[in-house]
Amino acid sequence: MEQSLQPSAPDSRRAFIEKVSSAVFAGLALNGVKLGAEEKTNTMPASGLPPMPASPFQLSEHVDQDVLIRMQAELERTMKKPFKERRWGMVIDTRKCTGCSSCTVGCVMENKLPPGVVYRPVINEERGTYPDVARTFTPRPCMHCEDPGCTPVCPVEATYKRADGIVVIDYDVCIGCRYCLTACPYQARTFDFGEHWTDNAAKGADGALALTEARAYQNPPNFEYGKHWERSEGLIPGSPVGNARKCTFCTHRLDQGMLPMCVSTCVGRATFFGDLNDPKSLVSELAGQANAKVLKPEAGTQPQVFYLS
């Protein structure tokens, strides 16, 4: 077993203290007994307590690793598996979320979201009455439900759940009826009304110039689902204008071996992403904890985004 390759955590910690104590406090006795002696004899310690039994639990091999490094490695591992055997999921630790909205902004930038379209807003709730208040932050991506409410209603099957668990929308097919918007219990879908961030901007003397500059910035395509999407309005709108839109778990980034943008930009290291089919993945570990819950379980859609609180 690989466990045997690693020193058990209590052992290593003790060894560490021993090292420190021998270097700094050399010759000093703690309660009359030297730590090293206690380690060796393992008899009745000076405190009078019985010895600690050897713990069956061990800290994970990843204890010293940044979660992003770990998730990155796991992502590469998962992408080597056949498509059908992956099952992407997310865990959000609301205790670590600082409510900074870096994930929202990262997502807006990554997917060039126009005004009115948002994939991952952070719900900011204040509880209690002033001055006895507490705040909770709940980022809300698409839950990529196991049994989604949004997909069966679509009249043209433009939206469906892929074998790897990601619920997608085919922008080339969606007729923009917005039935799916009504059928999602999390309101994770928004409609692209064809707005631009510059619409109300730059009305002054330099308006025209500012607009050309800004438009040059806003016009390049976005790369959702690994394609080029050039939004445009008019008689036949250029998708995704006129379509339902939502979080894609950044499929285009996954295909390039990158974590979803919101995971990368999360300041509090509060968002975890990976393969729920992989029992050794961080998300599987976290989603299996007793405090892992889903939002609105009564909706019955079996979200694949879990919240720790």
Binding site: P115, C177, C184, P237
Partner: protein
């Protein structure tokens, strides 16, 4: 033209003009001027669509009373009812077509059928219904447009009866389906109710019957004894459906409201006592129920029936608005309303009041409906003994 006619024409021209401008805006600016949002994704157009399509189903079922069940009393209005059904169907399809984000892709409902989707079923069923309506109109009208042998007329009658017989389950299925379109959405507690398909059918019969009554009362060529008799018969039908609809509404509202706890109760309270309370109490209950009941039950003269049926038909739109919008106005997750906003178009809001642009499209559709009706009434033999000059009055 007398003065009244001139005023009516002026109103129509205004509707058509504003509608035309709205149409251009819709085609080139898409949905940007609409006030519905990503959180209240369906607005007045969807309400108008189910309103018009209900009128169509109701008028059609009325005509079927003649063609299938041989209710002779209504025989004289059967063709007119068919034509009204076709006109309102065109109005409804147009309205919902404008509501699509990609109007050019509507054919996909046929080329990429999704058999699980209630919306797909609804589209297929009303397409079949449209074809059937045109067929019925053809066989009902052609005998008056060219001379046919007695044998040919009998043959047409047989075909009519066959089509109308298929039409009854079809109309019930598609309009029940419109109700199910809402009733099946479990994410929306206000809609998610098994009573919806039935309510939609009763509502269709009520609103469609009222519209036919109003049309017969207003545009009939010979306002004689037989006409008054017919009108009173129609008035009774409308009154009956009005009371039945009220009963269903009581069931729909009183159950969640009784203990007043739960998500649906707060939505019903929103309808009854929310910011748009007057839509329910004034438009629906006072003008759409109380006044018509009084006129239909106590007065019963031609003028009263005319007014009552007009009131019922028009205010039924309020019922439709009160069905679509309240299902959508509360956040599915608390706090979502403040989580992220749209500073440009305000399309991430839970507050919905139709914009003028949305009204414009509706005006255009109504103007078109009036035009179709006017032309049909003028050039097709829809009512017995009519001549074109009588019509233009």
């Amino acid at each position: 033209m007398n003065r009244n006619a001139k005023i009516l024409w002026a109103i129509w021209a205004l509707l058509a003009l504003l509608g035309g401008i709205g149409l251009i805006e819709r085609l080139f600016l898409g949905h940007r001027l609409a006030a519905y949002t990503s959180y209240v994704p369906w607005g007045m157009w969807v309400a108008a669509y189910i309103f018009f399509i209900g009128l169509s189903a109701g008028a059609f079922l009325l005509s079927s009373l003649v063609y299938v069940f041989g209710v002779h009393k209504l025989e004289r209005i059967a063709k007119l009812a068919l034509f009204v059904a076709a006109t309102t169907l065109v109005m409804s399809l147009l309205t919902i077509w404008f509501d699509l984000g990609h109007m050019e892709r509507n054919y996909e409902v046929f080329t990429r059928p999704h058999f699980h989707s209630m919306m797909a079923w609804m589209v297929w069923l009303y397409s079949a219904y449209f074809a059937l309506l045109l067929g019925e109109l053809y066989y009902a009208l052609r005998r008056d447009m060219k001379s046919l042998s007695a044998e040919a007329i009998r043959e047409d009658d047989r075909k009519l009866k066959r089509l109308a017989t298929i039409g009854i389950p079809l109309a019930i299925a598609f309009h029940g389906g419109v109700g199910a379109l809402f009733g099946t959405v479990s994410a929306r507690p206000f809609w998610n109710s098994p009573i919806y398909p039935i309510m939609f059918l009763v509502g269709a019969l009520l609103s469609g019957g009222a519209l036919m009554t109003f049309i017969v009362a207003s545009f009939w060529p010979d306002k004689d004894e037989a006409w008054l008799d017919l009108l009173q018969f129609l008035g009774k039908i409308v009154l009956g459906f009005l009371l039945f609809d009220l009963l269903l509404e009581w069931a729909e509202f009183s159950i969640p409201l009784w203990y007043g706890v739960g998500p649906e109760a707060s939505l019903v309270k929103y309808v009854l006592f929310g910011p748009f309370w007057y839509v329910y109490w004034v438009v629906h209950i006072l003008l759409g129920v109380a006044v018509p009941i009084y006129l239909l039950a106590a007065k019963r003269d031609a003028k009263s029936i005319n007014l009552a049926s007009a009131l019922v038909a028009v205010t039924f739109f309020a019922i439709r608005l009160n069905l679509v919008i309240p299902g959508l106005v509360t956040p599915e997750l608390k706090g979502l309303e403040n989580a992220y906003v749209d500073p440009i178009g305000n399309h991430l809001s839970y507050h919905y009041v139709p914009s003028f642009f949305e009204w414009q499209i509706l005006m255009g559709v109504v103007a078109l409906g009036i035009a179709i009706f006017y032309l049909g009434r003028r050039h097709l033999p829809l009512v017995p003994n009519s001549t074109s000059h009588e019509v233009s009055k």
